[in-house]
Each structure stands twice: as structure tokens, then as C-alpha cells.
């Protein structure tokens, strides 16, 4: 359930330079009353509270319950679920897999997306076509993406077919412990680079052309232009895109794992978000599942603050 989320997180800024200054209005004027209390926002707020905030709050309650299955009456567990989670080697495998997925996937994605965006905004021949194409992975649902890669990476799929005509031997990419997690990272990259590049390009588009021209007159090459001018200017926004993709990898990996590897072979592709799914809907260990949910929640917030610190604006 991913809506593109953005920098509103950072600074919800009105499109107009500033809110219209308040002016005195006559008493009992509905407009004056509206200025004080946004009553028409209540239905939306209630809806949002019931269906989005409610379940998140419930997650924090369930994490402290001992609840081995839907049909069993839950009892209080205190920190018991967290003790179980931290004592479980599967949890540590999942944590490691999620960490690898992010530590490898995210920097590669952001750097490649930045280079792509830099290329596109310099308006080379065909940049319109490129912009059109970069967007395509963002249109495709998780199941369609998964089935596509299933057909590419299976033992008799396209990748092995091409390798064999080149005289190399293929392998069962998704069923091999050594390549299953890297395959999932490749899918994240395939799907995420184009979308991130489109977002970054929208920011790079607004870089002042005069600054760029001046630098080029001073003899700056493309490398200096990219890393010396565009990157620092777009730094805060790169942070926003990095956060967006960080959350997307951390939380949405459950979909690809469910569709392609079911966490295996062994626990080699069990990520934290898949572990939540598996414990809740396969193993029916509900307290455990939601305890991992809280760990994920905390990691998500911590990661976002870390990215913000790392890529905060320098000017």
C-alpha cells in the first residue's frame, strides 16, 4: 500500500508564499467560524483515525499479549514476546537480511538514480523518451513485477537462456541460497531507480542554469558539474527520496518475498516485514508478529532520522 510519500513530512509548505493574513470578520459569520475550527475536516479525520491510526495503536497493544492463534483468548505477556523475538535466531537472520537489502540496495539506487537524473536534465537527444520510460516500473503492481522476474530468473527463464548461449551455466537464481537475496535486491533496484530518477530530475530541473554555465566556463567537466554543483544543491531533496525508498524497501519487501521465495531457501530471504506476515498469517503467533512490527516501526523511524542527518542541507 504505497502512496508516493514526500517532503511534506519535512515541511508541509503552502503553495502560496504565505497564508493570507487574517482579517477581522463580523461575528457569527460562517467564514469567521471556519477560521477557528475546521469542522469539515472531521469526517476525513475520523476515517483516518479508525482505519489507519487505530490499527497502528492496536499493534502496540497486541505486541504485549500472548496470543497463539485467532481462536485462542489472548492473555497478557508483558515483554515476553520481545524476549521470544530476541531469542529467536530467525529474527536475527531477518534483521540481517533487511540490513543487507538496505545497506547494499539503497546507496546504489540513490547514486545511480542521481546520475540518471543528471543525464536527463542536461537534455541530451532522446531525453523525453527516457523520461517516459523511467516511469514505467512505478506503474507496475508488485504481483506483475514478481511474475515478470519469476519468468526471467527461473532455471529455464531468459537469464539462463542467454547465459547458456554465451557458453556459461545458469542457476536457479531464486532457489539458490547464494543468489536469492541478491536477486531480490536487483528487483528493488530495477523498480526503484527509474522512479527515484524521475523525482530527482524534477528537483535538478530547478537548478539555476546560470550557475551551471558559470561553472562550465570555469572549465568544470561533467563529473565536477554532477558532484560539485548538482549534488550539493539537491542534497536535501536527495535525502527525501532516500527516505522514501528506504521505507519502501523496509516495508514492502514482504510482497516480493511472498510472491517469489516465501522467505527461503532456509531463512536466506526472510526479511523483517515478511517475518511479520509469516508469524501473523502462517504461524498464527500474533503477539510475536506484532512485536516484530514494533521493532520494524522503530527501525523505520531511526533510519529516517539517520538519513536526514546524513543528507541534510548544507546551504
Amino acid at each position: 500500500m504505497s502512496v508516493p510519500v514526500g517532503s511534506q513530512v519535512e515541511n508541509p509548505r503552502p503553495a502560496s508564499p504565505s497564508p493570507v493574513p487574517q482579517r477581522p470578520a463580523p461575528r457569527n459569520d460562517p467564514a469567521a467560524w471556519r477560521q477557528k475550527f475546521p469542522g469539515l475536516a472531521l469526517p476525513g479525520l475520523v476515517w483516518y483515525a479508525i482505519f489507519t491510526v487505530g490499527p497502528v495503536v492496536a499493534m502496540f497493544v497486541i505486541a504485549f499479549l500472548r496470543w497463539p492463534g485467532m481462536l485462542v483468548d489472548p492473555g497478557f505477556a508483558g515483554f515476553g514476546n520481545f524476549r521470544d523475538v530476541f531469542a529467536d535466531p530467525v529474527f536475527w537472520d531477518a534483521l540481517r537480511n533487511s540490513a543487507v537489502q538496505i545497506a547494499v540496495g539503497l546507496p546504489v539506487m540513490i547514486v545511480l538514480a542521481f546520475l540518471l537524473a543528471f543525464y536527463v536534465v542536461r537534455k541530451p537527444r532522446g531525453h523525453q523518451v527516457l523520461r517516459f520510460m523511467l516511469f514505467v516500473p512505478a506503474l507496475i503492481s508488485a504481483p506483475a513485477t514478481a511474475l515478470m522476474f519469476y519468468s526471467l530468473l527461473n532455471p529455464d527463464g531468459l537469464v539462463n537462456g542467454v547465459l547458456e548461449t554465451l557458453g556459461m551455466s545458469g542457476r536457479a537464481w531464486l532457489a539458490d541460497e547464494a543468489t536469492a537475496l541478491p536477486s531480490l535486491i536487483v528487483i528493488d533496484l530495477w523498480a526503484g531507480i527509474g522512479y527515484s530518477a524521475v523525482l530527482l530530475a524534477s528537483r535538478l530541473d530547478s537548478v539555476d542554469e546560470e550557475v551551471v554555465q558559470a561553472a562550465m566556463i570555469d572549465g568544470a567537466g561533467n563529473g565536477r558539474l554532477a558532484w560539485g554543483i548538482y549534488w550539493p544543491i539537491a542534497r536535501d531533496f536527495i535525502g527525501v527520496v532516500a527516505m522514501l525508498q528506504f521505507l519502501s524497501i523496509l516495508f514492502s519487501s514482504a510482497q516480493n518475498v511472498l510472491l517469489l521465495t516465501k522467505g527461503g531457501p532456509g531463512t536466506s530471504t526472510t526479511t523483517l516485514s515478511y517475518l511479520i506476515y509469516q508469524k501473523a498469517f502462517v504461524d498464527a503467533d500474533l503477539g510475536y508478529s506484532q512485536a516484530v512490527g514494533i521493532v520494524l516501526f522503530v527501525l523505520g523511524l531511526a533510519g529516517m532520522f539517520a538519513i536526514r542527518r546524513l543528507l541534510r542541507p548544507t546551504h
Binding site: 493570507v20 475546521p38 482505519f51 545511480l112 543525464y119 523511467l134 511474475l147 523525482l199 524534477s202 531533496f237
Partner: protein
């Protein structure tokens, strides 16, 4: 002007990686298994649409598309019914309450709703709407609320207050002002929200899978598609025909609204 060489190679290399899977997907959807294995990149000798018939039949894709249309359409409508008045109210409120409500919606971006999959499932069971499309129609607008409200509020702030005052002097009620003054001006903002929500609602998978479940009469296209893996085994031609079939509606919408959609996704994610 000289263009960056390395990033050029990267860019077109990536473009190739985007195109090849689709090429493979489309040509394979017209082939039989042994042809796919032995000549993976050759065009099919005959363009036989039989795989499509089989995919659509064995995974009940037609009712699934109908369900997706119903769920997406109703959820979009509900999103607008909730978000437009909310944005109207927030754009006009200057008091503390307005700021608190707006901040509450903005904080929604930080909530990783995925972690709450199981409590959402409980809520569906509790309301008696488990295994129905109806619950998804209720749930999806709630997940879109932060984005929709924030975008529309920013849009409505740009509308001069004088317009509203003039209308209210003429005796227009609040709802009349919303309908006849704000809505027409906000069409681009509403289009943005509709496009963003369309993509996220249409492509929603995990919640649909858990909440609607396997019933072919209720499930959406995204839930129906992976069942092809089970029903057809490893008949790749059929699998890929089904995948192509589900991509057609989104690609049609993208081709038609390309400019608006790019702008929508950019403005949805970027206002900083």
C-alpha cells in the same frame, strides 16, 4: 555541448533493462513453453492468442478486473468526498485547531501502515466485513488521506479569499462556495490526487490478499494474477499472457495521461 558519457551509458543501459523484460513478456505470451526455452528472444512463428484465453479463463480475470474497477472507483470517490471538504476547511482555518489537524494528517506520512496489517485484518473481522470488497473500499481512502489532504490544502490556499467573500456577500452558503468557487479552480489538484490514488489503489496487493481473500467473485486483479502460478504450473506462455493482460489498463491510462501523471507523481512526492 558534450554530454556525460558514463551517465549516458548508464541511462540507456537501464532503459534497455526496462525494455527487454517487456519484450520478452509480450513475445512469450504468444508462444508455447518449448519455444520459449529454445528461442527465448525470437519472435513467435505464429501470433496465437490462445494463451490469453487460457489465462483469462483459468484465473477468472474478467470478474477480477470488474472488482478492481469497482474497488478503485468507489475508493477514489470516497477519498474525494472526505478529502475535499477537509482541505477546504484546513485552507480556510487560521486557528490552532486547524494547525493541529493539518499536522495530524501530515504525520500520517510517517506511519508505516504495513506493520499494522494484522490489526487491520482484525478490524475487518470485527466490522463483519472480512472477505469483502467493501472493507477495502473503506480502508483505501484512509490510507490516501494524508497525501490527498496535504496536496488539496496547498492548492486551495492559493485561492484568493476575496472570491469567497464576494460569493458569501451574495448569500452563497459554505457548500455553494466549495462547489462553485473552489472545485473549478482546484481541478488540477484533484486530477493529481485522482491519478496518484488510482495507481496506488489499482496496484494494491497485500491488503487485498489478506482482506478479500481467495473468493473469485470478490478478489481484485492483483490477487487473481498470482494464482496463475498455481493453476497453470509453469506454463510460462499462459503466465505471461495473464501478466500482460493486467498491465494493459495501467499502460492505457499512463499513455493517455502521461504528462499529468508525471506531474502528479512529482508533485505528490515533491513540494519541499
Amino acid at each position: 555541448m558534450r554530454f556525460p558519457r558514463i551517465s549516458g551509458i548508464l541511462a540507456w543501459g537501464y532503459a534497455l533493462l526496462l525494455v527487454i523484460p517487456f519484450y520478452y513478456l509480450v513475445i512469450s505470451s504468444f508462444k508455447q513453453n518449448d519455444d520459449i526455452f529454445t528461442h527465448p528472444l525470437n519472435l513467435p512463428s505464429t501470433w496465437d492468442p490462445g494463451n490469453y484465453g487460457e489465462a483469462i479463463g483459468s484465473a477468472d480475470l474478467v470478474p477480477a478486473v470488474a472488482n478492481s474497477v469497482i474497488v478503485t472507483g468507489l475508493a477514489l470517490l470516497l477519498t474525494l468526498l472526505l478529502a475535499v471538504p477537509a482541505a477546504f476547511a484546513l485552507s480556510r482555518s487560521t486557528g490552532r485547531a486547524g494547525r493541529v489537524v493539518e499536522a495530524t494528517f501530515s504525520l500520517g506520512f510517517l506511519i508505516p501502515t504495513f506493520a499494522a496489517l494484522f490489526p487491520t485484518f482484525l478490524l475487518a473481522a470485527f466490522t463483519g466485513l472480512f472477505h469483502t470488497r467493501t472493507f477495502l473500499v473503506f480502508l483505501l481512502p484512509a490510507t490516501a488521506m494524508p497525501l490527498a489532504v496535504v496536496i488539496l490544502t496547498q492548492f486551495m490556499r492559493t485561492i484568493p479569499r476575496e472570491l469567497e467573500e464576494a460569493a458569501s456577500m451574495d448569500g452563497a452558503s459554505t457548500l455553494t462556495i466549495l462547489r462553485h468557487v473552489h472545485l473549478p479552480i482546484c481541478v488540477p489538484g484533484i486530477a493529481t490526487v485522482v491519478l496518484l490514488c488510482f495507481l496506488s489503489f489499482w496496484n494494491e496487493y497485500l491488503y487485498s490478499l489478506i482482506i478479500i481473500g481467495p473468493d473469485p467473485a470478490q478478489r481484485t486483479i492483483q490477487v487473481a494474477l498470482p494464482t496463475l502460478q498455481l493453476t497453470t504450473g509453469t506454463d510460462y506462455g499462459v503466465l505471461m499472457a495473464g501478466t500482460v493482460f493486467t498491465l494493459i489498463p495501467v499502460f492505457a491510462v499512463y499513455a493517455l495521461t502521461q504528462r499529468q501523471m508525471q506531474r502528479a507523481l512529482v508533485s505528490g512526492a515533491v513540494k519541499g
